[in-house]
């Protein structure tokens, strides 16, 4: 098999594995790594011991034992800091571990030190892409492709750079061309589906993912994506069918089971949802989010003792997950809050008032907007004859009423597309709670759409000051700043969002187009 055909085989394998962004990256790393092992000369015989460490690191990386690989290769690089092979593989491992800034240092070193930089450039391109250095990403990928023209994986990432650079239509065309040129390769079609979802076109997304499924019907991740698209379309039945198809292909595929259980709950089929959550826990006993759902369902049925035991276990699992993922960012904080709140409620309902009070006070110490904590504390105080409880219950109602109107506003803004009703609902919410961050965000988004950019920026600033800090806020902020003619502020806001780990999506990328050379 020639080196070129090896690349092609790799590309085909790339299209047939269960698709996900990280898996694609790992695969590419492996392919690139094997190529570089062949192409990079060892500098001297003295590097034999280093080579053993590097080889061990490669093996660990290929076994997907990323953390161990990083440690092994870190030692190798410390021993032979000038060895481009060691630096390259260390960069690969760091890239796989999502330590992107450090990965770039080592990959750049390897690129400059090797005679055949193509594979390094390929990985570098992806790393630059990930950190938002699009011009450098485009250059690296172009360099990688110089020796391999019409190379599908390289072109795939070049199209992705195009997309992130805000050239949406060109990127879609490119992905479509790749899909047409490689009919057996699902990745570009899936990417088209993902882009459609990000552009709020779930119907097109479903269509694209269905095409990908026709190409690779045995990929559970594709069925999961299809389910997501159907759910976004409001077709719960089709979503559930798709999730079940994913699970038939891979019963251990936890994300699909979580999605299925969640959709069943949304559809109020709680018995069926409970079965799925229990299955998740059978396979992953420390899945705190699933255990929390079980606790919520049981609590809703009045099985309070059992629910309390479950929620306490869930709280532990979620806490341990938080510790383990401290450097990764933690998207389970809302679940931890929910678990703490449910625990406080259950303690109150079980007559353990002192513990419930303590739990509620602890929650309020960390989050002074916790509706449930106010309810628990207020109720216990009232029952004890303490009129202070009325203040807590008033706060509970104020926040509850605000949340209700905010949800109504969100529904009218996002699903019905009725800005007038949405605005009325947000204003009502703010009447209850003038600092409700979600309502301020919603109102800011509406103001931007209505062309009142200055007012939008002011409202969005208020939302941020009230504690809102997520991709949606930053997206609106960047767009409002741009539309108000404050490009510098917009770019600064974009930078802050990136630093906080938020991906703002195609609307922002399109509005803040990168230089044209990223999409040449």
């Amino acid at each position: 098999m020639s080196r070129r055909s090896c690349w092609w085989e790799g590309a085909r394998a790339f299209g047939s594995v269960r698709w996900s962004w990280s898996r694609v990256l790992v695969l590419v790393i492996v392919v690139s790594g094997l190529t570089l092992v062949v192409s990079l000369p060892l500098s001297s015989a003295a590097q034999t011991s280093t080579s053993a460490l590097v080889q061990r690191g490669i093996e660990l990386l290929e076994a997907n034992r990323v953390d161990e690989a990083v440690e092994e290769l870190r030692v190798a690089v410390r021993l032979s800091p000038a060895d481009p092979v060691g630096r390259y593989h260390f960069g690969r491992a760091l890239f796989a571990a999502r330590e992107l800034d450090e990965a770039l240092i080592h990959l750049e070193f390897a690129r400059d030190a090797t005679s055949e930089p193509g594979p390094v450039e390929f990985l570098l391109g992806q790393a630059y892409l990930e950190v938002g250095r699009l011009t450098e990403a485009a250059a690296a990928l172009e360099a990688a492709g110089a020796s391999r023209s019409d190379d599908p994986p390289i072109d795939y990432y070049r199209a992705e750079v195009c997309y992130r650079g805000g050239y949406i239509d060109r990127a879609r065309e490119w992905f479509a061309e790749l899909a047409e040129a490689s009919p057996g390769w699902g990745a570009p079609v899936v990417r088209l589906g993902v882009i459609a979802m990000q552009l709020s076109d779930p119907a097109l997304a479903a269509e694209q993912v269905e095409v990908a499924i026709q190409r690779s019907p045995d990929q559970p991740a594709l069925w999961l994506r299809l389910g997501g698209a159907h759910a976004a379309l409001g077709d719960a039945e089709a979503a559930i069918v798709a999730y079940r198809a994913a699970l038939e292909l891979s019963p251990a595929f936890v994300p699909a089971r979580v999605a299925l259980a969640s959709e069943l709950r949304i559809q109020r089929q709680e018995d069926e949802a409970l079965v799925e959550y229990r299955e998740i826990l059978r396979r992953s006993p420390n899945h705190g989010v699933a255990r929390l759902q079980v606790a919520e369902i049981l609590a809703g049925r009045g099985e309070r003792e059992v629910a309390l035991a479950e929620v306490e276990q869930a709280a532990n699992d979620l806490r341990e997950f938080a510790v383990a993922s401290a450097t990764d960012g933690d998207d389970r904080a809302p679940s931890r809050q929910s678990a703490a709140e449910l625990r406080a409620v259950l303690l109150m309902q079980l007559g353990r008032g002192d513990e419930a009070s303590a739990a509620a006070r602890a929650i309020l110490g960390a989050d002074p907007r916790s509706v449930k904590a106010y309810f628990v504390l207020g109720t216990i105080l009232i029952r004890g004859g303490d009129a202070l409880g009325q203040d807590h219950l008033r706060m509970f109602k104020r926040l509850t009423d605000a949340a209700e109107q905010r949800e109504l506003g969100d529904y009218n803004r996002k699903q019905v597309d009725d800005p007038e009703r949405a605005r009325a609902a947000y204003l009502q919410a703010l009447g209850h709670d003038p600092t409700d961050p979600g309502s301020l965000l919603g109102l800011g988004a509406l103001l931007r759409r209505a062309g009142d950019f200055e007012a939008a920026i002011e409202t969005l600033e208020a939302a941020a000051a009230a504690g809102r800090d997520d991709a949606e806020l930053h997206r609106e902020w960047v767009l409002a700043s741009l539309q108000a003619g404050r490009e510098e502020q917009a770019r600064a806001a974009l930078g802050r969002a990136r630093a906080a780990g938020h991906t703002l999506g195609p609307l922002v990328w399109s509005a803040l187009k990168a230089p044209a050379e990223v999409c040449s």
């Binding site: 719960a236 039945e237 409620v345 309810f375 029952r383 109504l408």
Partner: protein, 601 residues
């Protein structure tokens, strides 16, 4: 305060003295039998047997109309109710059934207007006169048979002439019908004819002036032009497209009308209470009960709301209504969630002398029993009482506390039925109703147990609770005067069902018909305490518990020791009547004259 005893002279109109004597002679034997039944009863011995009486036997016929079978709009899912009302005062309960219309389904008001232009037909509300328990339709409902998109009914002797009036709510115009005392009703425009979506209503003397005021719960401010329907694909349930609402639709404020009939210079009979104080948030209200939860002698008004906080109106120092549901523990579920309250009922279910509350809710949620801790502070006790889990798979509507088996505690009936016909019609839309037996007397602990699914078939059949239907309203009354509680259950778009209680009561019955004097004539709000042996019962007179219905205003209590050792009536105006050594049977007690009629069982 009057104090009377069995030694008081027999009133001149005791109807059958010989019967009284005969019953008195049998009393010891009956007492022994009742006491035997009351001790150590097992499930198999539960005596409530509710037998569905067919239309041919009962004479009750009504094809309920309430929009289309598909239920494309929210206006088509909630009706209708009715009332047990002895309108001709012959001692036998007559029956009034509210009806709706077929369509146009997107505009109930227009439907009503169109129907009113048609000659009377088989559409319209129905009045059935009782001939000793058999019912005969009264032509044109005796004057109350309007054709309208009707919802509920409430009854009271508004003008204190001894004959009860009828109030009927509708999507459209609510109407009060005056009882002429000659077997007929006439529309009576007293200022309670507001347009909107009237749901349950109740008469209660809110301002303590002795005249019955009227509270009307109202649901949605329905706008046919701006309400999505089937085909818009905006609203789904369990993956099925269904009608939209109430979320996203405007609610409608409830109405409290103060009775000013006897106030000089008042042009209208009723005037609206301060509108700013009643339901300012325009909640989605379905049902209410007027009950004295703080034992201060005045009934509070508790309103069950759909998907919003419930309301509990108490009085401030100036007598103005103030909603304290938020601080009561009965505004939300026990874990602080808004629930879809469909019905409200009140009784002292645990025998502690305080009146508790019950609210039925949506499917996949539990019905809520609120135990009164005193001073209108409640603790949701649904789970502890055994009512939570069993209610989860059902959508509850009318709920009534009734002593169905005569064992001197409050059992509970809940009508069930879903709102979306798009669901499997066998398993979900049509549902089984629930009858929960209170185990207070057997165990000393007030817990409820349903004998139905999972129980031996013969027991389930014995309770007569197997039939499935999309039930809505229910009202209780002893229509055959055999001293037990019967039920009339209405079903959406289906005929109502009369459930006759054929069980043997565990204890001897005592029926009380109260006649108020210083307060309202109907004696609504009167509180009765009955001590029989070691058992003390506390009951309160209100008839509009449940949903859209009005129950028998005669109180029926049971006497475990075979007699009431002491009986106290606290009248709405505050006067107290005390009786001692009261035998089973029927008493008419007048606030002014004491026991004015007595009949043995």
């Amino acid at each position: 305060m009057t104090r009377l005893s069995e030694a008081a002279p027999a009133p001149p109109y005791v109807r059958d003295l010989r019967d009284l004597v005969a019953r008195a002679l049998c009393a010891p034997l009956l007492v022994a039998i009742a006491a035997t039944l009351a001790v150590g009863r097992s499930h198999a011995e539960d005596t409530a047997q509710l037998v569905a009486v067919g239309s041919d036997d009962s004479g009750i016929s009504l094809q309920h109309r309430y929009g289309s079978p598909q239920k494309g709009y929210i206006t088509e899912f909630g009706g209708s109710g009715g009332a047990w009302i002895d309108y001709d005062m012959d001692g036998w309960l007559d029956l009034f059934l509210v009806n709706g219309l077929d369509g146009p389904v997107d505009n109930p008001v227009a439907a009503t207007i169109a129907a009113l232009r048609q000659p009377p037909g088989d559409v319209g509300h129905r009045l059935f006169r009782s001939h000793r328990g058999s019912f005969v339709p009264v032509p044109e409902g005796g004057g109350a048979g309007d054709q309208a998109w009707g919802n509920g009914a409430a009854t009271a002797d508004v003008d204190s002439d001894g004959y009860p009036e009828l109030f009927v709510t509708a999507i459209g115009t609510d109407r009060l019908y005056r009882n002429n005392g000659d077997g007929s009703f006439d529309p009576w425009r007293l200022g309670v004819e507001d347009e909107g979506w009237g749901a349950s209503a109740a008469f209660t003397d809110w301002d303590g002036d002795g005249a019955l005021d009227l509270y009307v719960t109202r649901y949605i401010d329905f706008d046919p032009l701006n309400t999505p329907t089937l085909g818009d694909r905006l609203c789904t349930y369990r993956g099925e497209e269904v009608f939209c609402g109430p979320e996203g639709l405007a609610g409608q404020v409830d109405l409290l009308y103060l009775n000013r009939l006897e106030h000089a210079g008042t042009e209208k009979g009723f005037v609206r209470a301060d509108v700013a104080l009643i339901d300012p948030e325009a909640t989605y209200s379905f049902a209410l009960v007027a009950s004295d939860c703080d034992a201060d002698g005045d009934a509070e008004i508790y309103v069950a709301n759909d998907s919003m906080i419930n309301q509990l109106y108490r009085r401030d120092e100036g007598g103005q209504p103030v909603d304290e549901a938020l601080f009561s523990g009965a505004g939300y579920s026990g874990d602080g969630r808004e629930q879809a309250g469909m019905s409200a009922a009140s009784a002292d279910y645990d025998g502690d002398g305080r009146f508790d509350l019950f609210v039925s809710n949506f499917q996949n949620d539990n019905n809520s029993l609120y135990r009164n801790l005193g001073g209108c502070v409640f603790d949701e006790s649904s789970e502890a009482s055994g009512l939570a889990r069993v209610s989860h798979p059902y959508m509850g509507w009318a709920a009534l506390f009734i002593d169905i088996d005569g064992d001197a505690d409050q059992d509970l009936f809940v009508a069930n039925g879903h709102i979306y016909p798009q669901l499997d019609p066998v398993e979900s839309y049509a549902q089984r109703n629930h009858l929960f037996f209170n185990r207070l007397r057997e165990t000393g602990v007030a817990t409820f147990e349903e004998i139905g699914e999972g129980a031996p078939e013969e027991l389930s059949q014995a309770t007569g609770m197997q039939a499935r239907a999309p039930s809505r309203s229910a009202f209780a009354g002893d229509y055959d005067n055999d001293a037990d509680i019967d039920l009339l259950v209405t079903n959406l778009n289906e005929p109502p069902v009369l459930l006759r209680n054929d069980g043997d009561m565990a204890a001897a019955p005592l029926r009380l018909t109260l006649v108020g004097r210083s307060g309202n004539r109907s004696a609504y709000g009167a509180r009765v305490t009955v001590r029989s042996g070691s058992t003390t019962q506390h009951v309160e007179l209100h008839t509009s518990d449940g949903y859209l219905g009005a129950s028998d205003r005669r109180l029926l209590v049971f006497l475990p020791s075979g007699r009431a050792d002491a009986l106290q009536i606290v009248w709405p105006g505050g006067a107290v009547t005390e009786l001692v050594d009261v035998e089973p049977g029927s008493l008419i007690v007048d606030e002014l004259y004491g026991v004015v009629a007595r009949r043995a069982p």
